[in-house]
């Protein structure tokens, strides 16, 4: 489904991705772990189409040359990024935005647009999945949401847009154990043989709920090690110290989480 070959990304003179290679097949869940600054979030942003980076390399997503597509075309092709820091957009209603997004995507996939009633029914069903109150829908996108509410809103959007490939960028950071369970439940509800996921995380904890097929370790802008789910456990115990890099696991991003 996704083939990344020798992907480089830089901002100005600062090269952040230094040759990433990764292959994700349909039905698989891949976890990407690694210390802060290793390039995990940059990889996620580059895949979603953020325009701040100078990029070389190739990324194929199904039949598409992903790097040639606009962010909205990537979404229509079935890519979804759950942001680490979802942006607040005052003045844009959550429900209005979500319906606009879904219908834009459906239109480009050649599907019929959903009218307000049909969309509301779908949204209500998916909100139950992530245990979100309907009052959120009437608020502006992420405005005044707590950290956990923002993450749940990301998962809600994902369950409504039903992407083929979902990239979750530190969706677990800042979540307590209940929120983590809810988020994982939303993710697992979307797991089917024709979908794939890339879960970026600092910590092994999330992987208790979303069990990965493959685990990769990123350091210095590359994937330096890959293995099965046991690799995550090993990293949790030993840290990133023996990766040949002078790096240590950064736990500061987990502040506020229940140990």
């Amino acid at each position: 489904m996704l083939q990344i070959e020798n992907l480089h990304a830089q901002i100005g003179d600062n090269e952040i991705l230094r040759g990433v290679n990764l292959e994700v097949a349909a039905g698989e869940v891949h976890a990407i772990m690694g210390p802060n600054g290793s390039g995990k979030s940059t990889l996620a942003n580059v895949l979603a189409g953020h325009e701040a980076y100078g990029i070389t390399g190739t990324v194929r997503f199904e039949d598409d040359d992903l790097l040639a597509l606009s962010p909205e075309d990537r979404a229509a092709a079935g890519l979804f990024l759950a942001f680490q820091h979802p942006v607040e957009i005052p003045g844009v209603g959550n429900l209005y935005f979500l319906r606009m997004a879904l219908n834009s995507v459906r239109r480009r996939r050649g599907l019929e647009e959903l009218d307000v009633m049909a969309f509301l029914a779908l949204a209500q069903e998916r909100m139950k999945l992530v245990e979100m109150d309907e009052s959120f829908m009437r608020r502006s996108v992420n405005e005044g949401f707590s950290g956990g509410e923002k993450k749940r809103n990301e998962i809600l959007q994902m369950t409504i847009l039903e992407p083929k490939l979902a990239i979750l960028d530190e969706t677990d950071s800042g979540l307590d154990i209940d929120a983590l369970r809810i988020v994982a439940g939303g993710v697992n509800a979307l797991r089917t043989p024709d979908r794939a996921m890339v879960v970026i995380t600092h910590r092994q904890r999330l992987l208790d709920y979303i069990v990965p097929d493959r685990v990769h370790v990123m350091a210095g802008g590359r994937i330096v090690r890959s293995g099965d789910k046991d690799l995550a456990l090993e990293l949790e115990e030993q840290g990133y110290a023996d990766l040949g890099q002078e790096v240590t696991p950064d736990r500061s991003a987990s502040v506020g989480a229940t140990p």
Partner: protein, 456 residues
């Protein structure tokens, strides 16, 4: 600065003096009205002739070049000389077909297009000329009122030349809840046309009224609207005033909304500027009675080569008054937006609470904004805040929307509309809010550049 300098030179060489212009426009008018009004017109003529036109050196005019306006050989037309206006046009411009409305075409009252409804006892809604024709008893002070020390030639020109406008009078405790609509249409089929509508809104003690002024026209030759609206609120009166300026981009629009507030009165103004080539939408509020409150809000959306200037003056002249200003600009293409807001707190105004906010969204690299909040505080015991911001669309928000599948143009429109939405939410009347929303939506979503006429 090159353009500024050349404008000054042009103004000095090829534009008329005030006296020349007034004479060309037919001053003194053949029917100047009651003797006191004829006198007020002559006094204004004398004042303006001596004073001359404002220049870019005047603080309140430094952003609006008058050269392009004064070079146009404007003429005044007689009543009833315009092309007939169809009822469909009126329907499209009015908010509620059932509301009271007064329609003026090139400054003249058009009774056949107007609609007078049953109003509470003692409430008068009519055209000013009809009141003046009967002597205009008691109105003299409103025309000899010198507009403080801030008068300029265009206000004086209006006094010299006005033919008609709206007259609204509410006696004590009168409540008119449905908006009264005032529609000013300008059209120049032949020579460029100038008109000078003059309106007066007098709100008696504890009375309440909502007034909407709409300015529109047909594209054709240039028009110039030089409008003055005076609002006087007695103790405890409440007036909501809205203004929609949607003239074609062949139009020049100069307007003054002059407000005087008595004790515990509440005045709110919401303006939306969409049209005109050059528009200067001046608002002056004088808080004269203790405990008065004023909210002055505006949204301006210049694009193409449009210029929208918003000079605001709030004078706190009595104790414990509150004033709020919120102006937002969305400037596209080569548009130019100006917020020139001034608050003066006089020595006898302790307990003043004043705030002023101006935010601007620039949608193109060529868009330009001047924002100039000014506070002049001449007493202690005041709370004044002001702030201004100019920026482009939030790139991260744009990426977020696009990453969810919303196309680039739609995402931009959504964020732009979100910026404007705060202003729409301030409009209390639901039907008016929907009407303004349609206008703003149309502006923000259309690919078409330039404002066409609304009459055709």
């Amino acid at each position: 600065m090159t353009t500024v300098a050349s404008a000054v030179r042009t103004a000095a060489t090829t534009t008329p003096t005030v006296a020349e212009l007034l004479s060309r426009l037919g001053f003194p008018p053949s029917d100047p009205g009651p003797a006191w009004l004829a006198q007020a017109r002559h006094a204004s003529h004398e004042w303006a002739t001596a004073r001359g036109f404002p220049t870019l050196k005047d603080e309140d005019w430094k952003y609006t070049r008058l050269g392009p306006l004064l070079e146009v050989p404007f003429e005044r037309v007689g009543g009833g000389t315009g092309r007939p206006v169809s009822p469909e046009v009126i329907d499209a411009l009015t908010i509620d077909a059932a509301s009271t409305r007064l329609v003026f075409v090139n400054g003249f009252f058009a009774p056949e297009l107007s609609r007078l409804t049953d109003l509470p006892d003692g409430v008068t809604v009519t055209n000013l000329a009809s009141v003046l024709a009967e002597g205009g008893a008691g109105l003299e002070p409103f025309f000899s009122y010198p507009f403080g020390g801030y008068d300029h030639a265009f206000t004086a020109l209006n006094t010299c030349l006005f033919e008609d406008g709206a007259f609204i009078h509410l006696p004590a405790d009168a409540l008119v809840t449905a908006p009264i609509e005032l529609l000013f249409l300008s059209e120049a089929q032949g020579s460029p046309v100038v008109d000078n509508p003059r309106s007066l809104i007098l709100a008696g003690p504890r009375s309440r009224v909502v007034v909407v002024e709409t300015y529109a026209g047909a594209s054709g030759n240039a028009t110039c609207t030089n409008a003055v609206t005076q609002v006087v609120l007695d103790e405890g009166a409440r007036v909501e005033h809205y203004k929609i300026q949607d003239e074609p981009d062949t139009a020049f629009h100069l307007a003054l909304l002059d407000v005087r507030q008595g004790p515990d009165s509440r005045f709110s103004s919401g303006s939306v500027a969409l049209g005109s080539k050059i528009a200067r939408n001046e608002v002056r509020v004088r808080l004269e009675g203790e405990g008065a409150e004023a909210s002055i809000d505006g949204l301006y959306l210049p694009r193409g080569d449009q210029h929208h200037d918003n000079p605001i003056l709030i004078e706190h002249a009595a104790a414990r008054c509150t004033s709020r200003q919120l102006y937002k600009g969305i400037v596209d293409e080569h548009g130019h937006g100006v917020f020139n807001g001034r608050i003066i707190v006089w020595p006898d105004a302790p307990g003043t609470d004043a705030s002023q906010t101006n935010k601007n969204l620039l949608l193109s690299d060529h868009a330009e904004v001047d924002t100039r909040p000014r506070l002049e505080i001449l007493t202690d015991d005041v709370k004044c805040t002001h702030g201004a911001a100019v920026g482009a669309l939030d790139e991260e928000a744009l990426f977020y929307l696009r990453s969810r599948g919303v196309p680039y143009e739609a995402a931009r429109a959504l964020l732009t509309y979100a910026f404007a939405r705060e202003m729409l939410d301030l409009i209390e009347s639901e039907s008016l809010r929907a009407h303004v929303q349609t206008l703003v939506d149309g502006r923000l979503s259309t690919e078409d550049s330039g404002t066409g006429g609304t009459l055709r």
